[in-house]
């Protein structure tokens, strides 16, 4: 049995798929620990998990959209988070003595610790932001700017010269929680394993009024993440207007005050048990975060996607290309267009068939079990593969 240290970020969408993998490894008898904030991680990783405490630090608010969001993601979040957590990750490595590190692509401190101690490690991609490397060819100066940050962090950690490779990509293994049905064949890296969605059973939500759902009507979940009123661009109003004449029921994940006086066919809840709800859903309207996209498609539920930032536009484009959903503009889509889009994912047989196709491919990809298997393999390579050759960096 082997020892695995998970290094993630205090972001639910990032922790959830990794937590499913960690639970699988634990169930298989491996020793697993997390390096991170006890208060943040505990509800997500379960009462049994071992946590090497790194206190949570507040970060400045990030920009909401576009390149400004990309800039603040690095300058206000990834870089400062790496700097403040570096010592804690180091301590966790020394205390836990892992065989393998499982490191979120944006938790750069984990990559630096792996290099410092010469550990075998895997990069985990809970978003598609880095996986498709959108900036590499389209915006080379943006890509160079990210490499500059990584090089600075390398130096900050006291490591010599320059990073030997892109620190977002372990030379040993990359596990991504998506599937080739969405991404298409990846050109790089060679060591990427796409395991599909990694879902763990979550605590049941007994408060959710399941009996509100009328079994004779179709159901749509509208889940746009946490949107402040000033950044929601009236999207909820437009969405409520869009579903009004459709004779369907809509569950909206939003703070109740965002949608005052919802009509009878709209249920607004601050929290929604998405996985429990999935079997009842006919379509999902979402900003296109990878978790929502994968959770929906793992149930064969097609999507209308209105991407806002980060990897969401990439996911939306992939879903549209796979034929499993429709993409609309978050800022600009009009209620009529949104209504047509919802109608088409509800009615169009080709779209529903494509969503079913993605569900099948996800089922084959193996999810958390496949990811756990890959990590176990990394800790205990079969004979003859002990001396692993570091993989080449990107061309």
């Amino acid at each position: 049995m082997s020892r695995f240290l998970f290094v993630s970020l205090p972001l639910t969408g990032h922790v959830n798929p990794m937590a499913a993998v960690a639970k699988t490894l634990t169930a298989q008898g491996h020793d697993v620990a997390w390096a991170g904030s006890e208060s943040y991680l505990r509800p997500l990783v379960g009462p049994e998990a071992v946590i090497q405490q790194i206190p949570l630090r507040p970060h400045r608010r990030q920009a909401d959209r576009g390149m400004a969001a990309a800039k603040t993601r690095w300058e206000e979040y990834i870089v400062p988070h790496c700097k403040v957590s570096l010592k804690g990750v180091d301590k966790a490595v020394q205390a836990f003595q892992p065989d393998v590190l499982a490191v979120d692509q944006h938790a750069v401190a984990g990559a630096l610790a792996a290099h410092r101690y010469g550990l075998t490690w895997a990069s985990m991609a809970p978003t598609t932001m880095e996986l498709t490397r959108p900036y590499r060819s389209a915006l080379p100066k943006v890509e160079a700017w990210i490499h500059g940050h990584l090089a600075d962090l390398w130096t900050y950690a006291g490591l010599p010269d320059k990073p030997p490779h892109d620190l977002r990509f372990s030379p040993h293994l990359l596990i991504a929680f998506t599937g080739t049905a969405l991404t298409g064949p990846l050109a790089w890296p060679d060591n990427a394993v796409l395991v599909g969605p990694s879902l763990a059973k979550r605590p049941a939500d007994h408060d959710f009024p399941t009996d509100w759902l009328d079994p004779d009507r179709k159901h749509v979940l509208i889940s746009m993440g946490t949107l402040a009123a000033e950044t929601s661009h009236g999207f909820y109003e437009r969405a409520v207007q869009a579903v009004r004449p459709l004779g369907i029921q809509a569950v909206v994940t939003a703070a109740p005050e965002t949608i005052p006086d919802p009509p009878d066919h709209v249920l607004v809840r601050a929290r929604v048990p998405v996985l429990e709800l999935m079997p009842h859903l006919d379509a999902v309207v979402s900003h296109g975060g990878l978790n929502t996209v994968c959770e929906s498609l793992a149930h064969g539920v097609p999507l209308v996607l209105a991407p806002i930032k980060g990897d969401q536009p990439i996911n939306a484009a992939q879903v549209a290309a796979a034929g499993a959903g429709v993409r609309v503009s978050f800022a600009r889509t009009r209620p009529e267009v949104l209504r047509e889009s919802i109608e088409s994912v509800l009615e169009d047989k080709a779209i529903r068939k494509a969503a079913a196709r993605v569900r099948a491919s996800f089922a084959v990809a193996g999810g958390a079990i496949a990811a756990a298997g890959q990590l176990a393999l990394l800790a205990n390579p079969p004979l003859g593969e002990k001396e692993r050759e570091p993989l080449e960096g990107p061309a």
Partner: protein
């Protein structure tokens, strides 16, 4: 009543011309002082302050040297002669007062600027000048006399060339509703000054926007100009303007003329209580290229007709429009289709740094497209010339 006010304005300025000139010199408008600066009781500072206001407006609105300027409400030509003289502009001044036009013309002759400054008795809304005949439309303290301000901005839009600038200084009122006594004060001022109404500075901005102007901004100069109504400065209490003189003036020129003497105390009260304000407004008529790319982007984004008026050259693609990468790519393809393969916005953006991408505006895109198109045209001409040369040499080659 609106159309009827012009004769009253005309009469007002015809009858007060000498009074204003004697009092304020050639600049029939407010002066401009720094915070805390006091006007000189001797009046020595009056010209400095009124000159200063003209300089401030030139700087604020970005009036370029040697521009073709239409001066709406030119008075007796004070600002116009500065623009024509120091800045080398060609100025056409219009005023409703024939007397003012005559006096301004005399002054232009005296200053040796008659070639570059001409003055006409014309209604600013019906000048008959051709479209796009001016680089700058300059209006210092004349807009208050024009009731139909919507028409004023529309006419300014017509008369300016694309890229041309609007430079306005005007009396204004505080934005928002006024109390009854405040409204009474305003009505008194309007009556005595022969003005139909005042707009607030934000209202002026809205009107400019609605007319299609871009880069619209205003600045509140109330505190900087308020000294103009200081009794020491305004010199309205001079003995020769005593009661007997006023009665005589009224008999000679009609009762309207007395409004001139009421202005001081009323305006002082207006400024002191913050009801009356004063400010400058600047705006730019969008270039054809800008209008063209906005029209294309509107189609790409599937926006409604009114959308174009909600953006300006200062609108950023990343932050304001929240343009997604696929929308940018589609915009780039449409631009390429319209302006030729040399105009590759996607490639241009690919060459930008993170901060440059965040700061990229519609104005930048218009400038890029114009430059890329010019470069492509030049390259074509060069190619045409080089390919033409061997063709011309062919007969020679044949001959040898």
């Amino acid at each position: 009543m609106k159309a009827d006010m012009n004769p009253a304005v005309e009469r007002y300025y015809d009858t007060t011309l000498d009074l204003y000139e004697e009092l304020w010199g050639e600049h029939v408008h407010h002066g401009f002082w720094d915070e805390g600066e006091r006007p000189d009781a001797e009046g020595a500072d009056r010209h400095t302050a009124t000159d200063r206001l003209v300089h401030e407006l030139v700087a604020y609105a970005g009036v370029p040297e040697r521009a073709r300027v239409l001066d709406v409400g030119c008075g007796i030509g004070g600002p116009a002669l500065y623009l024509a003289g120091t800045l080398g502009c060609s100025v056409v001044g219009v005023t409703l007062s024939a007397q003012q036009a005559v006096r301004a013309t005399e002054k232009a002759w005296d200053a040796g600027l008659a070639e570059r400054a001409e003055f006409h008795r014309l209604d600013a809304l019906a000048t008959g000048f051709p479209d796009e005949s001016f680089d700058v439309l300059w209006a210092v303290e004349s807009l208050m006399h024009i009731e139909d301000r919507e028409a004023f901005f529309a006419e300014a839009m017509r008369l300016l060339r694309p890229g041309g600038r609007l430079a306005i200084a005007t009396w204004s009122v505080r934005d928002g509703a006024l109390s009854e006594p405040e409204q009474e004060l305003v009505d008194q001022i309007l009556k005595h000054q022969v003005m139909p109404s005042f707009s607030s500075l934000p209202e002026h901005e809205r009107l400019a926007h609605a007319a299609g102007f871009t880069d619209v901004a205003s600045v509140d100069w109330s505190r900087a100009v308020a000294n103009s109504w200081d009794p020491e400065f305004a010199l309205i209490k001079k003995p020769e303007h005593g009661r007997a003189t006023m009665v005589e003036l009224a008999r000679e020129r009609g009762a309207d003329v007395l409004g001139f003497f009421y202005a001081g105390p009323l305006m002082k009260k207006g400024f002191d209580t913050g009801v009356m304000t004063y400010g400058a407004i600047r705006a730019v008529k969008p270039t054809k290229m800008y209008q063209g790319i906005v029209a294309l982007l509107r189609v790409v984004l599937d926006e409604e007709d009114g959308w174009s008026a909600t953006v300006s050259p200062a609108t950023t693609l990343d932050g304001d429009l929240e343009l997604e990468s696929i929308e940018l790519a589609a915009f780039s393809r449409v631009l390429q289709k319209r302006f030729g393969p040399g105009v590759d916005l996607a490639a241009y953006v690919a060459g930008l740094e993170v901060d440059q991408i965040i700061a990229l505006t519609l104005g930048d895109v218009a400038a890029f497209v114009a430059a890329a198109r010019a470069a492509a045209t030049n390259a074509e001409q060069t190619t045409a010339q080089t390919t033409a040369q061997p063709a011309a040499q062919t007969p020679e080659a044949d001959g040898t």
